[in-house]
C-alpha cells in the first residue's frame, strides 16, 4: 500500500486508479532533454523509452529521441552490462552526442544494476570497435520510488554533482527551475538578462522541446545548457532553485553550496505575485539593483487587471492537482485572486504538500483539503461533494471535468488535448497574468453558458 502521510486519508483503494503522477524516469528524460547535445538512454526494457517518448511527444509536439539499452530475458538474468555498452556505442555512432544521460528503470534497479561500475569498466576497457564515448551522467530513477517530479530533480542533481567543477567564483548565477514549460524557461532567461545577470539555466529545454522547423533533420535539436556551463555551476556566485516540497538531499543548489560554497536560494515555484516578488527580490539582492522597469510595469499591469477580474473570482471554489510544487504555486496565486482552493491533490507523496500550501496561504490553509499519493478516481469521489467552480491542472483532469461538468484550466504537463502546452506561461508576473486571465475568462464563460439570457456584455 502506498505510504500515506498524516495529510492523506484518501480512498481505501489499494490500487491506484487513474494515476495523478507519472513514473520517475520520465522526469529524468525531461531534464536530460535540456542539456546541449545530450542524448538519453533508459537502462531497461524497450517499452519504457517508447512510452515516455510517446507521452512527451504528445505534449511538446517535437521529436523526442530516447534510446533504450533494450533488456532481453538474458540481460535480466545475467545483467545489462553488454546492453549498456552496445547502447552507449550505438547512440554515440548515430547521434554524436556531447553528453549521454543514463537513467535506470525499475527493472534495472530491481536486478541491482551498478551503472557506475559498468561505466567505469567501459571507460577503462573500451572495445576497439566502439567509438569514444562522450561524458556520461547517470541517475538512478526506479519508478517504485517517487514520481516523475523526483526523477526530474534527481537528474538535475546528478548533472551538477557529476559534472560541476569548483574554482574561483564568477559573475554568473545558476537557476535550477522546476518542471516548467519551454515558455517559462525562455521568460526566466529574459528576466535574468534584464537584471544583467549572466545565467546558467539547468536544464534548459526551451529550444530543444519548442523549436522551429528544420532545413535538414537534426541529430539532436539545437539548444540546451552547454556542458561547459554545467561544469561552471560550481563557480557561480549564487544558485536559485524552485521547490518547497523536495528535500535538501535531492537539491542541486544545496549540493553546490555544500561542495563549492555557492550560496543557494530555495524559493517556491514563482507562480503568483508574491512568489514572483520573492524571485525578483533575490535577483535584485544578488546584483544589487531594483527590478528592471519593464518587469515592474508588467507587475503593475497585472495588479490592475486583477482588480478588473476580482469580483468574478472571489470565493470561487477550485480543485488543483498535479505535481506538488506546481500545486503549491497555484495555491499561492489563487490566494491572491480570492479563489478558494478547496481541494489540493497530487500523486506525489513528499509529505510536505500541506506545509508548502500553508506557506503560500497561511491564513486559510486549514480550510483546504490536501491529498497526497492520490489518484484521479479518488479525486472524482472527493471533488463532487465540494462543488467546485473550476479545476486547475493538466489535461488528464479532463475526465474529471467532464464528469463533474466543471471547467478545466489546463496547466503544466501533460497537455495532450490542446496545442500549445509548450507555450503556456506559468511563472513570473507574465505567467501570473496569463493564468489569472485564463481563470477569470473560464469562470466568465461558464457564467455565460449557464445563463438563460446569454448576455454578450458581462
Amino acid at each position: 500500500m502506498t505510504t500515506k502521510t498524516a495529510d492523506s486519508v484518501s480512498g481505501p483503494f489499494v490500487a491506484t486508479r487513474n494515476a495523478c503522477k507519472l513514473c520517475t524516469p520520465l522526469g529524468a528524460c525531461l531534464a536530460f532533454a535540456g542539456v546541449e547535445g545530450a542524448r538519453t538512454i533508459l537502462h531497461g526494457s524497450q517499452g519504457c523509452a517508447t512510452y515516455i517518448r510517446r507521452y512527451m511527444i504528445s505534449h511538446f509536439k517535437e521529436p523526442v529521441d530516447i534510446a533504450s539499452s533494450n533488456f532481453s530475458e538474458h540481460a535480466t538474468i545475467f545483467g545489462g552490462r553488454d546492453n549498456l555498452r552496445a547502447g552507449l556505442a550505438n547512440v554515440t555512432r548515430q547521434y554524436q552526442p556531447e553528453v549521454i544521460g543514463i537513467a535506470t528503470t525499475c527493472l534495472a534497479e530491481t536486478i541491482g544494476e551498478d551503472v557506475g561500475m559498468y561505466l567505469h569498466e567501459i571507460r577503462n576497457h573500451p572495445s576497439p570497435d566502439d567509438p569514444a564515448i562522450p561524458p556520461v551522467v547517470h541517475v538512478g530513477t526506479p519508478s517504485y520510488c517517487g514520481t516523475h517530479a523526483e526523477g526530474y530533480l534527481a537528474t538535475v542533481h546528478a548533472l551538477v554533482s557529476q559534472l560541476a567543477e569548483g574554482g574561483s567564483h564568477h559573475e554568473h548565477i545558476n537557476v535550477f527551475p522546476n518542471m516548467f514549460s519551454p515558455a517559462d524557461l525562455r521568460y526566466l532567461k529574459e528576466i535574468c538578462a534584464d537584471f544583467g545577470l549572466p545565467l546558467t539555466l539547468l536544464p534548459d529545454y526551451s529550444d530543444t522541446l519548442d523549436g522551429p522547423t528544420w532545413e535538414e533533420y537534426q541529430l539532436i535539436p539545437q539548444g540546451g545548457t552547454p556542458l561547459a556551463a554545467v561544469r561552471r555551476t560550481g563557480q557561480a556566485r549564487s544558485s536559485i532553485e524552485f521547490t518547497c516540497v523536495h528535500g535538501e538531499k535531492a537539491s542541486a543548489g544545496e549540493w553546490l553550496e555544500e561542495r563549492f560554497g555557492v550560496p543557494n536560494h530555495r524559493l517556491p515555484v514563482p507562480i503568483g505575485i508574491q512568489a514572483s516578488d520573492a524571485l525578483f527580490d533575490v535577483l535584485g539582492s544578488i546584483c544589487g539593483s531594483e527590478t528592471p522597469a519593464r518587469h515592474a510595469a508588467e507587475r503593475g499591469r497585472l495588479i490592475d487587471s486583477l482588480i478588473d477580474g476580482h469580483k468574478y473570482l472571489f470565493e470561487r471554489r477550485a480543485v488543483v492537482f498535479g505535481e506538488e510544487d506546481l500545486v503549491a504555486g497555484i495555491v499561492g496565486l489563487l490566494g491572491e485572486l480570492g479563489v478558494d482552493p478547496v481541494l489540493c491533490a497530487s500523486g506525489g507523496d513528499s509529505g510536505r504538500l500541506r506545509s508548502a500550501i500553508a506557506r503560500m496561504v497561511p491564513d486559510r490553509a486549514d480550510r483546504i483539503q490536501v491529498r497526497q499519493a492520490t489518484d484521479f478516481a479518488d479525486l472524482e469521489e472527493l471533488a463532487g461533494d465540494l462543488k467546485p467552480d473550476i479545476l486547475i491542472g493538466n489535461s488528464k483532469g479532463y475526465w474529471l471535468s467532464r464528469r463533474l461538468n466543471v471547467p478545466l484550466v489546463r496547466i503544466g504537463f501533460p497537455i495532450h488535448d490542446r496545442v500549445g502546452g509548450a507555450r503556456m506561461l506559468h511563472v513570473g508576473y507574465r505567467g501570473a497574468q496569463q493564468l489569472a486571465d485564463r481563470i477569470v475568462n473560464t469562470l466568465l464563460e461558464s457564467i455565460q453558458e449557464q445563463s438563460d439570457e446569454g448576455y454578450s456584455y458581462l
Binding site: 500500500m1 502506498t2 505510504t3 481505501p12 483503494f13 489499494v14 490500487a15 491506484t16 486508479r17 494515476a19 503522477k21 507519472l22 513514473c23 520520465l26 531497461g44 526494457s45 524497450q46 517499452g47 519504457c48 523509452a49 517508447t50 512510452y51 515516455i52 517518448r53 510517446r54 511527444i57 509536439k61 517535437e62 521529436p63 523526442v64 534510446a67 533504450s68 539499452s69 533494450n70 532481453s72 530475458e73 540481460a75 535480466t76 552496445a86 547502447g87 552507449l88 550505438n90 555512432r93 548515430q94 547521434y95 525499475c106 530491481t110 519508478s143 517504485y144 520510488c145 522547423t213 528544420w214 532545413e215 535538414e216 533533420y217 537534426q218 541529430l219 478516481a377 488528464k396 475526465w399
Partner: protein, 487 residues
Amino acid sequence: MISVLEQRASQIHQDGNSPFAMDCEKHSVAGSVSQRACVFCGSRVVLYPVADALHLIHGPVGCAAYTWDIRGALSSGPQLHRMSFSTDLREKDVIYGGEPKLYQALVQLIDHYRPKAAFVYSTCIVGVIGDDVAAICRRVEAEKGLSVLPVHSEGFKGTKKDGYQAACTALFQLVGTGATDDISPLSLNILGDFNIAGETWLIRNYYERMGIQVVATITGDGRVDDIRRAHGAALNVVQCSGSMTHLARMMEDKYGIPSLRVSYFGLEDMSRALYEVADHFGDGQVQQRAEELVRDEVAAILPDLRRYKKVLSGKRAAIYTGGAFKAFSLVRSLRTLGMKTVLAGSQTGNREDYRLLRELCDEDTILVDDTNPLELAKFVQEKEVDLLIGGVKERPIAYKLGIGFCDHNHERKIGLAGFEGLRQFAREVHSTVMSPVWRLVPRRRRQLAASQANSLSTENLRPSCAGECSACDLPHCNIPAGQEILL
C-alpha cells in the same frame, strides 16, 4: 549527415537491383531508438478493448499511467476498460513482494466495479521479484467466482509480438466457456479489429448485411460473454494477423474453426475480405449480398475519391506501421489515390510479409524493419516525400521537415477502415498534403515552388462539389465479385 548503424543495415532494403534478402524478427539493437514498445504493450493493446473486464496492471505506476485512455477503441456499453488500474508497487513491495498488494487490490476492485472478468498484467519487475501472479489469480477467481486471468507480459521477455501471444493465451482461457446453441452456421468472429473510432461496428454491419451472424468481436467493443462463446462461430476472420493469428490457431486446433486473414483498409482489401468470407460459406445469397454491398458502398465513395485523386496524383508517401499487413493495404490505398509509396516498413513484419511488400511496391521503394527516427528522417528526406503515415512517435519527424502526416495508429480518433474509412483516409491525406502551411516552411518552399501550378488550389475540393469530375480516371463502380478493383 545521418548514418545507418552497421547492425541495422540488413534490416533495410534500398537497392531494387540487388537480390532481396531482408532481415527481420530480431531483438531491437540496444541504443537504436526503436519505435517498438515491449511485451506488456503488445498484451495491453490487444486486451484493452474488452470493455466489461477489469484490467489491472501489476507493477510500478508507469506502465498503467502511459496506457491510460490513449487509444481510440470504443465501447457500445461499459467503459471499464478506459480506467487505468495499477498496483503501483513501491520500494517496500519490491523488497517484500507484491502479492499481498495484488490480492487486496484485485478483491477491492472486483467488489467495487463488478467486472465480468479480470486481466492481471505482469510488468517487468513482477517477473524478477517472483510474485506468483497465477496463484493469486486462482485464489481470487475461487473466492469471487469470476475468471481472473494472468497475462504474462513482463516487458523484457521478448517483443510486442510475444505480448500479443500472452494476450491470446489469456483470451483463450475464456473461449469455450459459454453457450453456443443459438449460433447460426453462417457465423463468424471478427478477430484483430479494435473498434478504433467505431471500425468494428462498421465491419460488423457489413457482415450482418450479408446475412452472417457475428458471434464475438475480439477485441474491439469486446465483451467477456461473447468471447466465452466464440468457439461456436463457423469462421474466424482475422485482421491484424500479427496479434491474433495465435488465438485463431489455438481455436482451430481445439475447436476446428478455420480462419481467413483479411484487411479492412482500402477498396481492394475491404472488398476482397467480404468476397472471401462469402465464398468461404459458398452461399449464393450471401455472395450476392456481398456483391451488392460492395457495389453500393464503392458507389457512395467514388465521387469523393475521384476528386481527391485528381489533386493527390503523383504525390509521394512513406509508410511505417506496427504490423506489416496494414502496410500492404496502405500501399494499395495510396495507389487508389494516385500516390506512390517510396518507403514502407513495419515494427514487427516477418520475412514473408516483406517479400510480399517487395512484390507490391515499386522497384525503388525502400523497405525498413524495426527502423528508428534517424533512418526514417534520412529516407523521407532523400525520397522527398509529401506524406508520412505512422503513429504519434513518427509525427514530429514529418512535421519538423515540413511533411504532411496521417495517423494510422490506434491512438487515432478517426475511422479509416471499411469503405467509408477509405473516404476518411483520403480526406485525412488530402487535408495534410494539400495544406497551405507547407508553403510557409523554408525546406518545402523550394520543393513546392516546382510543383506549384494547380496542385495547391483546393477550390475544386469543397464538399459542395458533389458532381462527377470529368477528369476522373477511376473505374466505374459496378465491380463484379472476384474481380480486382484496378484503378
